[in-house]
């Protein structure tokens, strides 16, 4: 059965473009122009994945409201923000509401589709038993690639798709410096240096929430970042 993707986007042209692309891949796509119509549709049936714009017409924060609403209905539902707004504040707000990723409209279709695929893979993987080959262990760090789950010292670390891919790229080759471009490639994202820096910061903070002494992600100034196996 085809998966249902809901696009909540006030810009008809973009929504149409994404719908066409997704439909070509076999997804069933519904498009909602504003929050009320989206809410009405979600009340009838939840989609398998939601792509939400933050500003919906005059409803400047409408996307955030919608995300909160959706997350309360389904904790598992993958939600991706796709927006023109790239303020750090907006990014943090969106992720705090439980979105799985926060993307700016710069992103290419291929990169968007990669994320959608990954998110669906994760949904699938969560329904199946844990496969050993997907697992990556670096000391206290445990990563499951298909489930896109991360554990530190046995506790789960809630990362977005982008963050997960960055962490995975670092942890796969401990000690190796990954520069920003490599991290962007790994995360299927086109970002500027500052955004990578803030992603790294957010990853560190999430680990720090579990372990205040966490210091495995080291900055190699002027070059990039590396994962240290030993503190």
């Amino acid at each position: 059965m085809a998966r249902k993707i809901a696009i909540v986007e006030d810009e008809q042209a973009i929504a149409d473009n994404y719908r066409d692309a997704l439909q070509k891949l076999g997804y069933k796509v519904s498009h909602h122009l504003d929050r009320p119509s989206a809410l009405a549709a979600f009340a009838l049936s939840l989609p398998d994945l939601a792509i939400i714009d933050v500003g919906l017409g005059d409803d400047i924060e409408g996307g955030f409201e919608l995300c909160r609403d959706l997350r309360s209905r389904s904790p598992e539902l993958p939600i991706v923000f796709l927006t023109a707004r790239d303020d750090e504040f907006d990014v943090i707000s969106g992720l705090r509401l439980g979105a799985d990723d926060y993307l700016t409209k710069d992103i290419g279709q291929a990169q968007l589709l990669a994320r959608i695929n990954a998110l669906f893979r994760r949904v699938d993987a969560l329904r199946q038993p844990v496969k050993q080959e997907d697992a990556l262990e670096r000391g206290a760090l445990a990563i499951n690639l298909s489930r896109m789950s991360t554990h530190w010292q046995g506790q789960p670390v809630d990362l977005t798709v982008t963050e997960f891919w960055i962490l995975h790229a670092l942890a796969r080759h401990p000690g190796h410096v990954k520069n920003r471009q490599q991290l962007m490639d790994a995360a299927n994202v086109v970002l500027d240096d500052n955004t990578i820096t803030s992603h790294i910061k957010r990853i560190r903070r999430k680990f720090n929430d579990i372990d205040a002494g966490f210091d495995r992600i080291q900055t190699a100034y002027g070059m990039g970042y590396r994962w240290l196996d030993t503190p």
Partner: protein, 702 residues
């Protein structure tokens, strides 16, 4: 010249006030002096009228100056010895006779009681003595004293006593012993002292000195042309002489003494200006003499118009311009400069009342003199007060003017400083808060307010410009997404091969547009990350060492670090490393763009402990063109660039790089500066920022 100096100079005009007072006092003093002269003139005329009314007092001899000899009263009779020693102590000025050839006679005449004494000082090249046996009464140098028809010859055969002889009416030669003379030779000629009873000379008296001059005799004295004949062979009866002695008159003196007043000198002369009487009274000494400085000021004020000098008379004859005016019939007065102060001299003619004649006859002159300070009759205290008040008010005016000038120039200067600060781009809010304000409602305040309004507008405009880029990029991002997603969808279709070329070009264009949008929002993103930045304890020198290595690889050119004591603990400090690195990225990137290929970029780190808190100087130096002068002072401003918008590598330059540098430097409490290398070969960017000590509870990371 600065405004303050200009205004101070202008306020010197206040000094005109004391000057005007001095001028006023000078005019005032002149008026007083004129009044004083008139008072003296009145006195002189009163004296003249009194003397003229008594015919017995004033003589009416019409003798001329050449034939008269003035007799000074002497306190004692000099010894008859031919030497002038005693005369030198007497206040008797000699009467001088001389001719062109160097022959001269100085005669001093005086009387003590009944003895008339004469002292003659003769200058003559040849002194010859009488040869006894000569036919002539005097065969060499001799003297002639004429009294009426008698012509007495004084002759000497040798220095010492002289022989006095005369011819009787019958032609006989007789010696006379009433007239005694003594001759002494001197270096320049000879001197003769003569004494005779004054009674002998009362009616007439004339004196001549004859120089033999090798048979060509010449004569000097009051006798006139008869002098040469008297000493020769018998000339027969000679006419009576016109010569006379002029003597001070006791009766005139008594009449004059009545008019004597303190401080006045009264003098009466005859028609030939010979002094007949003089009454002199010392000035009253009761008045306290004023302070010397005060006196000097008043003298300075009073005597700025130079006066003719007063010349005291000693010869007994008052021959000067003032008396000459009087002798011509006019009263005249004048102020003269004398050693004791200014001296008012007034003269008035004396007319003798003639009952039988139609016209009064001029008989002499009265001279009234007064030495005085023109201020002494004024209340000196009042003038002093006036002068002090004027000086004080002038001073106050001067101070007020200078003060006002300073205040104005201070206000203008403050405005000027604020405007200069505004140019140097201090944070506009702080600048506007510290903008000069004044409660005074004048043009300067208006100017200041207008400036402030202008700055406010500039600030709003700058703010608008700053947000414009991020607003614009936000608005452009959505249509760009439409373009890109459409292109992506287009790629999925079965397009003809040539269409791929165009979609690729459209994709490239969209990519570039996207880069531009990123560049436009970079500054605001940096500002956002500054807000969220956290400072960590790091080793600054090691950090710089690491990134220099990285830059060398990235830019394919040496990036050389020179640091003071790179391993020292002084570099352990608190800062936001990501931001610092981002700042250096911008600086190195900037340097890389301008430095010629292959030349190194020099990064230096200097520790500065010259102030209380240590700070450091990070400098990035590269060879290359100098800073454009047009951008001086605003290089670090937002949206300011010295480069063309797109360089050859099609990278966009919106002029945000150095703005980000200054943002990050500001965040660290430091400043960013750009300057040319001293030798002009390139450019140096300096970041001067404090080095806060590591926090006590520093995070362990890095």
């Amino acid at each position: 010249m600065k405004l303050r100096q200009q205004l101070a100079l202008v306020s010197l005009v206040a000094l005109l006030l004391p000057w005007a007072l001095v001028e006023y006092l000078a005019v005032f003093g002149q008026v007083i002096k004129d009044g004083q002269l008139r008072a003296l003139e009145a006195t002189a005329q009163a004296v003249a009228a009194r003397l003229g009314s008594d015919p017995a007092l004033m003589p009416l001899h019409s003798i001329d100056y050449e034939h008269s000899l003035y007799v000074h009263p002497l306190p004692f009779a000099p010894t008859l010895d031919g030497y002038a020693d005693e005369w030198r102590n007497l206040d008797v000025e000699p009467r001088l006779f001389s001719d062109e050839s160097g022959f001269s006679v100085a005669v001093r005449t005086g009387r003590h009681r009944g003895t008339l004494s004469l002292m003659l000082d003769v200058k003559s090249l040849n002194v010859s003595f009488h040869r006894p046996g000569s036919e002539k009464l005097a065969s060499a140098d001799h003297l002639v004293i004429a009294i009426g028809h008698n012509y007495f010859i004084l002759r000497a055969s040798a220095p010492g006593s002289m022989q006095t002889v005369h011819r009787t009416l019958s032609g006989q030669v007789q010696s006379d012993y009433r007239i005694r003379g003594v001759l002494q030779q001197t270096a320049e000629g000879y001197s003769v002292e003569i004494q005779l009873p004054i009674s002998l000379a009362r009616e007439s008296f004339a004196l001549a000195v004859i120089d033999d001059n090798r048979g060509q005799p010449r004569a000097l004295g009051t006798l006139g042309s008869l002098a040469l004949r008297a000493g020769g062979t018998d000339p027969g009866i000679l006419p009576a002489t016109h010569g006379r002695l002029i003597e001070p008159s006791d009766s005139v003196q008594q009449a004059l003494d009545i008019f004597a007043r303190a401080g006045h000198t009264l003098t009466v002369t005859d028609a030939q200006l010979w002094q007949l009487a003089r009454s002199q009274q010392p000035p009253e000494t009761g008045a306290q003499s004023p302070h010397w400085l005060w006196q000097a000021v008043l003298n300075r004020i009073g005597s700025r118009h130079s006066l003719p000098t007063y010349e005291p008379q000693h010869t007994g004859r008052h021959n000067n311009p003032i008396t000459r005016r009087a002798i011509s019939g006019q009263s005249h007065g004048q102020w003269l400069q004398s050693p004791g102060g200014e001296r008012a001299v007034v003269s008035a003619p004396i007319y003798r009342e003639q009952t039988e004649a139609l016209e009064n006859q001029l008989a002499g002159v009265v001279i009234v003199e007064q030495t005085s300070n023109p201020w002494q009759h004024l209340n000196a205290q009042a003038i002093k007060r006036l002068l002090l008040i004027t000086l004080a008010s002038g001073l106050v005016l001067l101070l007020v003017l200078i003060g006002y000038a300073s205040w104005l120039s201070w206000r203008i200067g403050r405005l000027n400083r604020a405007a200069r600060k505004a140019q140097q781009q201090v944070t506009p809010e702080a600048l506007l808060a510290a903008w000069p304000q004044s409660r005074i409602n004048d043009e300067l305040t208006d100017l200041s307010e207008n400036y402030r309004a202008l700055l406010q507008q500039v600030r709003l405009y700058t703010d608008y410009l700053k947000t414009l880029s991020s607003k614009l990029s936000h608005e452009l991002r959505t249509p760009l997404a439409v373009v890109r997603s459409s292109l992506d969808n287009l790629a999925g279709l079965n397009l003809p091969t040539e269409a791929h070329t165009y979609t690729q070009r459209a994709r490239d264009g969209a990519g570039r547009l996207s880069d531009i949008l990123s560049a436009m929002t970079e500054a605001s993103r940096v500002e956002a990350s500054i807000v969220a930045a956290e400072k960590e304890t790091i080793h600054l020198a090691r950090l710089l060492k690491d990134i220099c290595q990285a830059y060398t690889d990235t830019y394919q050119r040496p990036v050389i670090l020179s640091a003071d004591t790179p391993d020292s603990d002084i570099w352990q400090t608190q800062l936001a490393p990501e931001l610092l690195v981002q700042m250096l990225d911008k600086l190195i990137d900037n340097a890389n763009d301008f430095a010629p290929a292959g030349t190194p970029i020099e990064l230096s780190l200097n520790y500065l402990a010259d102030t209380e808190n240590p700070h450091c100087l990070i400098s990035v130096s590269n060879t290359g063109p100098a800073l454009p002068p047009a951008l001086a002072g605003q290089l670090f401003n937002s949206l300011t660039t010295g480069r063309p918008q797109f360089t050859a590598d099609s990278r966009i330059h919106l002029g945000l790089g150095l703005f980000i540098v200054s943002l990050i430097a500001d965040y660290h409490g430091g400043t960013a500066r750009a300057r040319n290398r001293p030798d002009g070969t390139g450019v140096i960017f300096d970041i001067d920022m404090p080095l806060p000590p590591p926090a006590v509870f520093a995070p362990k990371r890095v």
